[in-house]
Symmetry: C3
Subunit: 186 residues, 3 copies
């Protein structure tokens, strides 16, 4: 159940046993988790360190893989948003773009698997005109990454215990993350 399709599994196996309150709570959890995932791009693209400090656990881990810096602990993760590099990326028009995430709820834990694009406006090249939509040199998709979010329920809401990103470039680590969304669904 930990990483499978909760709604389906819960319905077929447990519906008779689950109380209305338990079902309502699972639904509210799911919607709260969607908002948590949807809050990440705004926090990254505005460099909101106070939000990051709130949403990661004290021992939370932010792992971008071997080629980019990560951080451990909500305070360090928050501080990284204020780094010179991240602030320069924001000034250049950084945009995180998240698709529909897969959410596997398991009581007081959840695993979310999502795809993320990191975009910036192109600084060179020819502008293209689109009728009724102005002219633009367009955007560069800098990275497309598979994300695994390990969440836990706390008295002040769902929080991030570990977030792991791996670049989708044909190598195995990104596929490992993506397989997590399908585990138990066969």
């Amino acid at each position: 159940m930990a990483t499978g399709s909760p709604a389906q599994g819960e319905r077929s196996l447990e519906q008779g046993e689950r109380s209305l309150e338990q079902r309502m709570r699972a639904i509210e959890d799911r919607l709260e988790i969607y908002n948590l995932i949807a809050s990440h791009p705004p926090s990254a693209d505005t460099g909101d360190d106070r939000y990051a400090e709130t949403v990661y656990t004290a021992d939370g881990v932010f792992d971008r893989g071997p080629n980019l810096s990560g951080a451990t602990g909500n305070k360090a993760i928050a501080a990284s948003l204020k780094s010179e590099g991240h602030q320069a990326a924001i000034a250049g028009g950084l945009a995180h773009f998240t698709g529909l995430p897969h959410v596997a709820l398991d009581g007081d834990k959840a695993v979310v698997t999502s795809y993320l694009q990191i975009l910036t406006p192109r600084k060179s090249g020819e502008a293209v005109e689109v009728p009724n939509h102005g002219a633009s040199r367009g955007y560069h998709i800098h990275r497309v990454v598979a994300n695994r979010w390990e969440l836990i329920r706390t008295p002040t809401g769902w929080k991030i215990k570990r977030r792991t990103l791996r670049l989708i470039d044909g190598t195995e680590p990104a596929r490992d993350i993506l397989r997590g969304a399908l585990a138990g669904q066969h």
Copy 2:
């Protein structure tokens, strides 16, 4: 509460006091709002003026910022989809692409914050072949915009009172919109 994370705040502060009916209704509102946001790209990319007239309030505002035309009133917003410019964009293969939105519900009002890409097929350049997926010159990401949707509940469903778009290009207005998703979540 107006712009914070409703599920989380509601649970910790008010769960004991909220009736099952109120909780059900908040969930159904949320799902209705997701479908409203998901209906926007199809309406823009097919130029469905009747749908736009239905989904904006009579005094609804569509604000694309200082460099692109906007409109006020559901009839004027609907009419803009039939403009020569917009129809030409559709004929060229216009695609609006929306990510996972953040939804903050507050009774009969809601604020949605979302990212949107506006894409068109490239008209020049070299085609790339991807095995099992044909050849393509690819797509141009013309704009990446932060969207703020101010919604109200009406007897005929949730409607758009104001939609504000700002280009993510490193300037402040887009970040102002994105901060709206995080307000009250610190």
Copy 3:
């Protein structure tokens, strides 16, 4: 009701008559369907044939239009993920990226309308440096497609009876799919 906005229609027309259990079930269906749609990119990008076999009906249809191969039957659809071509695409860094889908639930059936991007890392061109985010030649958006998913409820969960994709390139077939999300919402 078949393709309209269920939550809105259900509330205005039927709320008084629908039992709490019926409403809960519609909500759980909706969330299960979101996870089904969110599972597609991981299955396509890892080539998980067992998952595909589980999630399509025995007579399921996968239709990519006149220019790309399709398949009929869950076993044939699953087998296509193991084809030499698809495996080569995965080795090159294939990424399916799905936006927020529109879901129209109608009892034991549902129609989902979604946008999908198919991305691959660029194999040539200049690398761009983004502060705090490394260097990258960026990604090529190979295809942007309108998707129609015809789903049915089965004793083992929601399954795909037909999935139809059409390229958004200014021609009519993609717009036909997109209009399906708006039918009944005027």
